[in-house]
Symmetry: C2
Subunit: 487 residues, 2 copies
């Protein structure tokens, strides 16, 4: 089997070697694994069923996590009047260059242009102002699953497209402290979700002033290290908006002591770029490697029909196996009759299915199957009767192994750097992330960006303490920052 498998590979799939050209490899994998495709609209992509199924699994588990913290879902209008978007000055300044404007409805010019939502603070806050009267109406904890539009001329599927799928949470609180706690809490939901479900370790921290969300008091972020060039991907952000939006949109409430006060807000979002992260963190030269918890298909049964006499019984056994297993794992049989087993092996490896179950006439006689494990490449023979108990454990092991590998990579490639030249060299050679002392000065941040193209990804929550010397100016610094190039 293996020989035929290798021989067929050449004409089955054509992936560029990720070590040679990681960006092209990403494009190839997304296209060939049928996660997404180009659309006849500039900057936009189609999310294909296989990619969308990953998004559905992400939605399920993330939505359950939100609800456990008391958040409910709602839906707010897609279109936002210009005057409303303009109310918070920093907010509109940040988003103007990216907004798509509706100027005609039916055959009429609109009196006021409407923005296709780039994010929803400016439509949600005025509505909250109406709903919130008393301290008893707080906290208000809502989330929306939707798409947003931010104009983009050079799209990359999942990572950067003019329209993307996401969720945006918007909460409202009586005190600054409570809002900040909620922002931190939701960041921790993201951290937990990304680490456990996507098997991607992240560094949680706070953004610098220049990198924070337009209009926020403080932006928290979880940053993940991608494969290939070891760049960072901002994978989820949570904003403590303080009372900036509360004041601008007049969200006032009568407090328990009879005083009228402005409310404090948070917002937090995670998008389908996390699917891009899954591709880039775990994939290899054979294609995707999906963490079992978000794999649309966790085990693919490939019947190896053999000579004519056996074909019928092998196929029947494969179907029975599926029926027995489908309550336990997401399993399917590849019944295509115009494709060889070798072709199918490559097909499902490219698509990152964690476990392949091969079933041939001899296996059937021996009441066994051969398992091929996607991430290690190992093969093992297993009695059919043991599959139902063994498979879930195996999937957990794979999930843990993917996370451990990514964790090792992140830890190994994140290096404490004290010399400017070392940092510049590491950035230029895509050597990994740099943990550096930073004095907090914007000028030093700008110098890093201008001279190396890397940015301060975050000031991690996890700090060594003590003082150090700023990598840029040599001044006294009380905190370290992560410096890396980013998507």
């Amino acid at each position: 089997m293996e020989a035929g498998n290798m021989a067929q590979q050449a004409f089955v799939e054509h992936l560029v070697d990720p070590a040679e050209n990681f960006d092209q490899w990403y494009v190839d994998v997304v296209q060939q694994a049928e996660l997404a495709d180009d659309a006849p609209v500039r900057g936009m992509k189609v999310v294909r069923p296989y990619g969308y199924r990953i998004w559905e699994l992400i939605q399920q588990t993330l939505d359950a996590r939100f609800k456990r913290t008391g958040v409910e879902n709602a839906y707010f209008p897609l279109l936002i009047p210009k005057s409303m978007l303009e109310k918070e000055a920093e907010h509109i300044e940040g988003f103007t260059p990216e907004v798509a404007w509706v100027t005609r409805g039916g055959d009429k010019e609109l009196e006021e242009p409407l923005a296709v939502r780039p994010t929803s603070e400016s439509i949600i806050c005025p509505i909250y102002a109406k709903w919130i009267q008393s301290w008893r109406d707080l906290p208000l904890l809502l989330n929306q699953w939707a798409s947003v539009v931010r104009w983009e001329d050079r799209p990359r599927a999942f990572l950067r497209t003019s329209e993307f799928l996401w969720q945006e949470g918007h909460t409202c609180h009586a005190t600054a402290e409570e809002a900040n706690e909620r922002a931190r809490q939701m960041l921790d939901v993201y951290r937990d979700f990304i680490e456990r479900e996507l098997a991607i370790p992240v560094v949680p921290g706070v953004k610098s002033e220049s990198e924070k969300f337009a209009g926020a008091h403080r932006t928290y972020t979880v940053e993940a290290m991608m494969g290939g060039k070891n760049w960072a991907l901002q994978s989820g952000t949570s904003h403590d908006l303080a009372d900036h939006f509360g004041k601008v949109f007049d969200i006032q409430f009568l407090d328990q002591d009879g005083t009228r006060r402005y409310a404090f807000n948070t917002s937090w979002g995670l998008s389908h770029r996390t699917i891009g992260a899954v591709v880039m963190v775990h994939g290899d030269e054979r294609g995707l490697k999906l963490p079992p918890r978000v794999a649309p298909i966790q085990a693919i049964i490939v019947p190896i029909l053999g000579r004519k006499g056996a074909a019928k019984s092998v196929l029947a056994a494969a179907r029975k196996l599926r029926d027995d297993l489908e309550e336990i794992v997401r399993v399917r049989v590849d019944e295509r009759d115009d494709r060889s087993p070798g072709y199918k092996f490559n097909h499902w490896e490219l698509r990152g299915v964690p476990v392949r179950i091969e079933l041939g006439p001899r296996d059937l006689e021996a009441n066994q199957v051969v398992l091929a494990i996607r991430d290690t490449g190992e093969k093992l023979t297993v009695p059919m009767a043991e599959l139902a108990t063994m498979l879930p454990e195996l999937l957990d092991t794979i999930q843990d192994r993917l996370f451990a590998a990514a964790r090792t990579r992140l830890d190994t490639l994140t290096v404490d750097v004290t010399e400017w030249e070392t940092m510049a060299e590491r950035v230029a050679t895509n050597a990994g992330w740099n943990r550096v002392w930073w004095c907090g000065d914007a000028a030093c941040e700008t110098r890093i960006k201008n001279e190396t193209k890397a940015t301060i990804r975050c000031i991690p929550f996890d700090q060594p303490g003590g003082e150090g010397t700023c990598i840029a100016c040599g001044g006294t610094s009380t905190a370290q920052a992560i410096v890396a190039r980013a998507y």
Copy 2:
């Protein structure tokens, strides 16, 4: 309790009597039950958490039904280039008056305006053309959960808004017969879903030429009778598009016999107007009456704290009851300390919660609770130990009873009418639906519309056979049609 309850009612809720002004009652219920609210954007509404939770329950069960028929979900761009929307002539003619146009992206005027999707055939079909090469790629069965924009100046929450939530299925087939079968199959999925989950009986049938979807070969519909004025609501439609879009968008495939052929399409959609249907079919003068299967809260526990000494143990018992029941039903405790039991009774009746569980100090002593049933108003005392087995059965009974009541209403108020005057009179007095013989002529259909304001809702699949006399022209007719006013 009952006396206090009635006394409080006046200042708790202010619903117009549905028998006096059904339209205003609808507005009041939607607003006061917090299903939806006005938005600061013309024609649009906010779907509030309680309304959105109903939509989530609808999505869950409908999505599972789609998947059982082999349909997968995907996501296609929100914005559609003008040239693409214009390709199918009837299609663009039908939708032009309702389209919102994006003409600016960022700070630039766009070379070509982009339509905010009013429906997605014209963006999905060109993509299908790329994906479909061979008969082996067929059928292609995709669905998308999204929102669409159709300009609307006089919005009514859920029923008619410039933006609405929906799903749109788009399939592609090798033969005309198969496409037609799929269109019929999905209509039957809608029928089954609306009848079983929403407890609303529907009349399935085919639309007249003038009422069909712009660009369709044939439109199937399920029509439901609302309460109050007994008008019809088109509750889901499924279109056999034949090869209209296949030819326009050049969806060709190589068939098994080596011939290149055009593919045949269907599309089918159901929107959040079904929430409006639930309100209008089941509601009464006390507010919503939710079918248990789509009720966000199926049972609400109202602790009646009594004198100070008992309060603590009653509340503890209420919480324990919730913990015991929450795996079985969607249950919550109303713990508000600033509201009387009577207020809470009205509050949850207005919101249509099927079962209220009252628990007071004496009930606690007797190890029992008092159940109040929303649809019948009856009260019964039940031993606490029996609740876990009794509640699911009770909810099923309520679900069946709501359906039976709506069924009786639909059957009673749908009348065979042979005289024009009778029909005109019945339409003018909102007496119900009219089953009439219709010759099929467009002129007769127009006369009905112009002279009575009613429309032909559908030609039901279920026909008596034989021949009759057209209600409008007296000509020979082989089929009956449903004539009614519609939302």
